[in-house]
Every structure is written in C-alpha cells, then in structure tokens.
C-alpha cells in the first residue's frame, strides 16, 4: 500500500540536520559538558551519512570508517572529559562564558 522504501537522500538530510543541530548546540549550550555532547552529536551525524553512503556504494569501508570514528570519539571523550575536569579544578566552573581569561 505505501511505498516500501526510503530514498537515501532522506538519511543524508537527517544527518545534515543532526550536524547542524550539533553546531547550534555548540553555539548555545552554556555548559562545557553539553557543548562537548553537541560535538558528539555532530560526529554521530557524520556517522549516519557514512553508513548511508556505505549502503549506497555497497562498500564496507564506510562502515569501518564509522567504526574508527567511534573509537576516536571514545578516546576524545576520555581526554575531553579529563580536560574538563582539569578546567573545573582550576576554575571551579563549567560555564563556557566564564572561560575567557585570555582574550584580545
């Protein structure tokens, strides 16, 4: 009754939307951790398009790429959170807008 299949473009559009939302998150979130989360969101968006293209080309490489991105994301998460902790220790705040000791 209804078309069974979905154009891949929709997936891509979805990933683009998620990516943009990630950027927006970076722009509007006031907490270091949430800002970092929005970066993760962007990475996920990219992953989605990878998978989509992998499906499009019937190529494993795309999926493996996603796999690597996940690993990198994990590593980044570890380091990033460590840095955030260090910042919190030094400045005892997580507010992005307060992290502006250095300017001009």
């Amino acid at each position: 009754m209804l078309a069974q299949d979905v154009p891949l473009a929709w997936y891509l559009l979805l990933s683009a939307a998620l990516f943009s939302l990630g950027i927006v998150g970076f722009l509007i979130k006031r907490n270091l951790i949430t800002v970092f989360m929005s970066i993760e969101l962007m990475l996920n968006a990219v992953n989605l398009s990878f998978v989509t293209f992998a499906h499009q080309w019937h190529m494993v490489k795309g999926q493996i790429f996603v796999f690597f991105v996940m690993m990198v994301a994990a590593a980044e998460a570890a380091v990033g959170l460590a840095i955030i902790i260090a910042v919190f220790r030094a400045r005892s705040t997580l507010a992005v807008d307060r992290i502006d000791l250095m300017k001009l």
Partner: protein, 174 residues
C-alpha cells in the same frame, strides 16, 4: 513499513537532538543524546549495518555516554547559568548554521543516482567487514592503539590531582 520505521526513528533523533539543546541540565541533555544514539543505531540496522548498530549501542550509549554521565555527577554540574552571553554566537553563528544547513540540503538534493533502501537489504556480513578491517585497513587499526594509548596517558596526566594550585590573581594581573 520501512518508511514508517524511518520516520519514527528519524523523528526520535531530531527530537532527542532538539531536546539536548533546550534542556538546561546536563543530565537531561545527556539522556536525550542517548536517545539520539539508540535511534541512530536502529537506523544503522535499517541501512544494513548490524555490526555498527551493535557497536553504536555498546560503545556510545554504553561507554561514552556513561562516561559523560559519570563526569556530570562527579562535578555535580548544575543548571546552566544564562547570565553571560556571546553576541557573536547569535549574530554570526545562527546565520552561519542556517547557511551550512541550506548548502548541505541543496547539495544533497542535487546528488545524482542516490538509490533507495529496501526493506530486505542484503546485509554486509560481519565476516566480510572483519576481513577488510584486519587486512586492508590493518594499519589504521594498529595505529588506533597509539591513539587510545595517548588518550589514556592524557586522561591520567590531566585528571589526576596535582600539588599546589597557584591562584590566578597575579597571573591575570599581567
């Protein structure tokens, strides 16, 4: 069927993402991010990447997000304070985002020869995946170990408490 699934989970993704933005408490944001990831996992499955779907659940939702939540708890980060702001972010950033989105959308709509997904996609067997991973892409795989090693090193070096913390008064004075 497929279409419905897609719509549901795409909607979940977007909803989660938007929720991530509007929530002021980090915990809520984190949870909504988890929602996004899980629904992404479903979408992966629909695109015939079952291994990735699993990995997504395990690595992301399982490990990374837990880490996030853990840190949030550790630093018991409260609600965001909306006092200070950045004009540039609003005046420059949002137009930029809109532009990026618009450009991406247009070019996606102009991609030639994008196929369709069918409900019964020929799944790429994980064996095949692992063959490529450990044969052609062996080097990246090995190199990743260095990456993880660095991550560990850095995490240790940065997160561990150090001795005296000099107050920034006279630093900032300079």
């Amino acid at each position: 069927m497929h279409l419905i699934l897609f719509l549901i989970f795409a909607g979940l993704c977007l909803a989660g993402a938007i929720n991530l933005l509007v929530q002021t408490h980090p915990i809520n944001s984190a949870l909504s991010l988890i929602v996004v990831m899980i629904s992404l996992a479903v979408l992966y499955l629909m695109l015939g990447a079952e291994f990735l779907a699993a990995a997504q659940i395990i690595v992301y939702s399982g490990a990374v997000m837990v880490l996030f939540v853990f840190v949030v708890m550790l630093l018991n980060a409260g609600r965001e304070e909306r006092t200070l702001g950045s004009k540039a972010a609003r005046r420059v950033g949002f137009p930029a985002v809109v532009a990026v989105m618009a450009v991406l959308a247009t070019l996606i709509l102009h991609i030639q020869g994008l196929g369709m997904t069918t409900l019964d996609p020929e799944l790429i067997p994980t064996a095949e995946l692992s063959r490529v991973l450990f044969h052609e892409l062996l080097l990246p795989f090995e190199v990743t170990s260095v990456l993880l090693l660095i991550a560990i090193l850095g995490a240790v070096a940065l997160a561990r408490v150090e001795g005296s913390t000099v107050d920034d008064a006279e630093r900032t004075a300079k």
